[in-house]
Structure formats: C-alpha cells, structure tokens
C-alpha cells in the first residue's frame, strides 16, 4: 500500500524498537556470564570463565541439566507417538466427535499453569510420584501433547488420502501403507511436533516447581531456585548456552528450510 515517506520512516522506527525490545533483553545474560564477581549487578567486572566451569562441574547444575535432557527426550518420543496416533484418529472420525475430542485434547494449553500444578501435586502426593522421573514424564507429556497434535493435524490436512487407497489397491497392507506412504509424507509435521514437545518439556517450569524434590530437579527449577536464592552468575552462563543453542537450532533450521524450498523451485 502507498505510504507517505514520513509514515514509512515512523513505521520502521517503531518496528526497530519492538525488535530491540524482543531480542536485546535476553542478550544481557551474555556479558553477565563472564563476570569475575559473584554478583548480577551491572556492569559486570573483569572477565572469567568460572561460571561456565561451575555449570559443568557443580553437580547441582550438571545433574539438573542431565535430568532435563533425559525427561525431555522421553517426553518427545512419548508425546509424538501418542499425539500422532490421536491426530490420525481425529482425522478419520466424523466431524462432530472429532471437534469435541480435539477441544478436549487442547485443554492443557489453556488451563492456568498454577491450577494444573496444584492438581497434579495433590495427586502425586497421594501416589508417591513427587520427585520421580515417571512423574515428570507424565506431566510434561500431557503438556506437550497439544503441540504434536496441532503439528501432525496440519500435515494430515494437506495429505491426499487417495494415495493410501492407491497403495491399498496395489496390495499393500495397512501397516505397509502407513510406513511407506503416509509416514514419509507427514514426516515434517511429526518432526516439528517432536521438536516442540522436546522444547516444551525442557522449558517447563510451573508444574515442575511443584512436583520437584531435592533428589530430582530439572534445569528450569534449578535456574528459578538460583535466581530467588542468590545472585549466582552461573544462571547467566546457562542462559547464554541456551540462547546460543536455540539460535543455532532455529536459525539453522530456517536457513536450511529456505534453501531447500529455493532448490525445489
């Protein structure tokens, strides 16, 4: 649409400010992580790697990191299997029950975190699941499920089901058809669902804060405890590592996707 030059400059300026507001605050953890003093006060003093060293060697930090990796990996697999099965079921149902069940399965996204957390905590106290791997996996899986469902459903919507009929008419059984025709075609949806599930679990904090105990802590719980307890720059070092890992994953993924698309054209 036609814009006056002044409007265009103003729009650009406002968007630049919004972009800075989105990105810059998170970057502040980078200089803080090299602080020589045990403080989160600005500006940081000197330069040292000690907080990265602490992250790697202090069992509080390294164990919580390994726990998070373990929980998130199991959740990614479990949520992807359950979510993909459910997405298939909904895709092959009549519209009315499908819509009802879909709404039901998306509820974990809208239930306020704390309400869910006290509910799960109450049940876990009765069933001795507080601070257990199983407890974390179950809670995180249910929170990750909607993301898998949405991603796989989106892939199924554009999937041409006549291909399955074609495979079946050529003599393939239901499982062979699924493995050789359907799954490869919806693989991008399944993969992005799995990635979302991993990220959801790795990042989950509210429910985790309630169902944790000193024997099993995940990384976000450890970060939260550290922020509230003392000004330990190790949190800044962890933040920096997570920031770079995310940037490489997302940025790299998007660049690859863009190149692939260009290549196809």
């Amino acid at each position: 649409m036609e814009m006056k030059p002044l409007t265009r400059v103003l729009l650009g300026l406002v968007c630049l400010l919004v972009a800075i507001w989105l990105v810059a605050p998170t970057l502040v953890v980078v200089p803080m992580s090299f602080n020589e003093n045990k403080s989160l006060a600005f500006p940081p003093q000197g330069f040292s790697w000690q907080w990265y060293e602490n992250f790697a060697t202090n069992p509080d930090w390294s164990n919580s990191f390994l726990n998070s990796l373990k929980v998130a990996s199991i959740v990614a697999v479990l949520a992807t299997v359950l979510g993909t099965l459910a997405a298939f079921g909904l895709d092959r149902m009549k519209a009315r029950p499908a819509n009802l069940l879909r709404m039901l399965m998306l509820t974990p996204m809208v239930v306020p975190g704390v309400v869910l957390a006290i509910g799960i905590y109450a049940v876990y106290l009765d069933t001795q699941l507080v601070g257990t791997l199983l407890g974390f996996v179950l809670a995180h899986t249910i929170l990750a499920l909607p993301f898998v469902l949405i991603a796989v459903s989106a892939s199924l919507e554009v999937f041409d089901r006549r291909l399955e009929t074609a495979a079946a008419s050529l003599g393939a059984g239901a499982l062979t058809t699924f493995r050789t025709v359907t799954l490869p075609l919806i693989a991008p949806g399944v993969a992005s669902g799995m990635l979302f599930a991993f990220a959801t679990s790795f990042d989950e904090i509210v429910v985790s804060l309630f169902i944790t105990n000193p024997y099993l802590k995940t990384l976000p719980v450890q970060i939260f405890a550290s922020i509230t307890r003392d000004a330990d720059p190790t949190v800044a070092a962890v933040g920096t590592i997570l920031l770079f890992a995310t940037t490489i994953l997302i940025g790299g993924g998007m660049l690859l996707l863009g190149r692939e698309r260009k290549g196809r054209q």
């Binding site: 972009a19 507001w21 953890v29 079921g89 306020p112 006290i118 509910g119 997302i250």
Partner: protein, 290 residues
Amino acid sequence: MSASDPIAQPAADARPGRAWRPFALTAPAIILLIAVIGYPLLTIVLRSLSEPEWGLQNYAWFFGAPVNLTVLQRTFTISAWVTLVCVIAAYPYAYLMTAVGPRVRLVLVLCVLIPFWVSGVVRTLSWVILLQDSGVINSLLRSAGFSGVKLIRTQTGVVIGMAQVLLPFMILPLYSVMQGIDLRLMRAAQSLGARPSRAFFTVYLPLSLPGVYAGAIIVFILSLGFYITPALLGGPRSTMLSTLVQTQVLSLLQWGRGGAMGVVLLVTTFVLLALAAPVMRSRHREAGRR
C-alpha cells in the same frame, strides 16, 4: 478439494464395523489426559468444596476478604495492560512483516521466534538483570546524571516483562491474518479518492481485527495465569492470583482455600474462552466473505 473431483476421498470410516478404529487411536492420549489433567482438576474442585469441611466456606472466604478481591482486580488490570501493550507493539510489527521483502521478513521472523524459543525463565532472569536497582537501566540512568527509578518489584516492571514474553503470541496470529488481506482493496479505496489514513481506518483495520481479537484473547488468558514473571519481577504490591494460590497451598497448606482460588481462575479462563469463541468465528467468516 472440489465436489466434482472424479476420485473422491474415501469418507471417514467408510466400512461399517470399523467405526471404532479412530476412537481406539485416540484412546491412549485421552486416557493419559483424564489421568493427568482431568483427575487432578477434579481433585482440586473437590478439595475446594470439602476442606476443612463440606460447603462453600472457601469461596465465601475468597470473595469476602478485601485482600483477595484486590489481588483479583489487580490480576485483571495487569493482564489488560499487558494485552494493550502487546496490541500496540505487535500491530505495526506484524504489518511490516507483510510489507517487506523475503530477506528482511526472515530477520523479522527470527527476532520473534528466537526469544520465543529461549527458555521463559532465562528471559525473566534477563529482566531481573535489566530492571533491578543495580541493573542495566538504573546504572545507565545514574551514569547519565539522573537519579535511579524503582522498576523491579513494581507493577510497571511486571507489565514490561510479561508483555515481552507474550508479544510473540500477539504478533503471530496478527501476521497470519494480515498476510491474507488483499492489498488491492487499499489501492481501490485510494483510487476512489480516500486518503491513505482513511483507507487504512476504513478498509485495512477492520479486516485485520480478527487477528487482533485472536491475539488479544490468547495474551489476556495467558496473562491471567502467569506465575514465573510476576513471582520474580513483582513485589508484595504486584502479587497476582497465581502467586496467592501457590502461597495458600505450599506455604500455608490450605488446600481448600488455594483450591477455591484455582477454581475461580480456571472458571474465569474458560468463561473468557467461551465468550471469545463465537466472536472470533463470526469475524473470521465476515473477513472471508469480504
């Protein structure tokens, strides 16, 4: 897929007697859902009605104490501010995303997605570092000769931090709606003599409203239940409902009272969703028809 397609897609459960199959596929997810969400929520509702004894006394307590009502009102006020800030910041940004070339768009999308994917706790930590009394903003102010301002443990600080965390939830639906708006409509309006500002307000803005509604509802609902950001950035005078629930349950072991508060929060969320659903659907239809 058109109706005149020569080879129709097979209908859902074409073969009778196999209609149960899709339900069997969803069963594992549904069972887990009932066990890990349904049963816990039911437990909370029951406890709010039964502890320490059966009755509505926990709800009477909640709505009878001025302190609770203040927090309830504050939760709504903070959520409204966060939503407003998000709409104002996201609208021009989402518009620019539709108006630029693919290269700049990629940068703009990355600016939204990268913070979106960085752990929420880490982002809140960044805000603590920025806003605290010895933080970035205050030390910059002081070195420029100004006196410092109180940002952490204030409502302003909470709103700034929450809005930044929630901004992607506003930008993404807005962008997806704006992408579908036919810009030739604007050109048509201008060729008929409308000034750009008038063309914007009478044509573009109404067409983009479904995106604003969708984003605003998501942001408002998520704000209502926010826990981490207010807990770390807020103080006693910016406590939100979630923190109160946590205090009742973990510190005071008042499961009944905490449960009642949780139920109030839950019911509010679902009522808002139910109110919003028809509005959003009809707006979508309208936008499609035009």
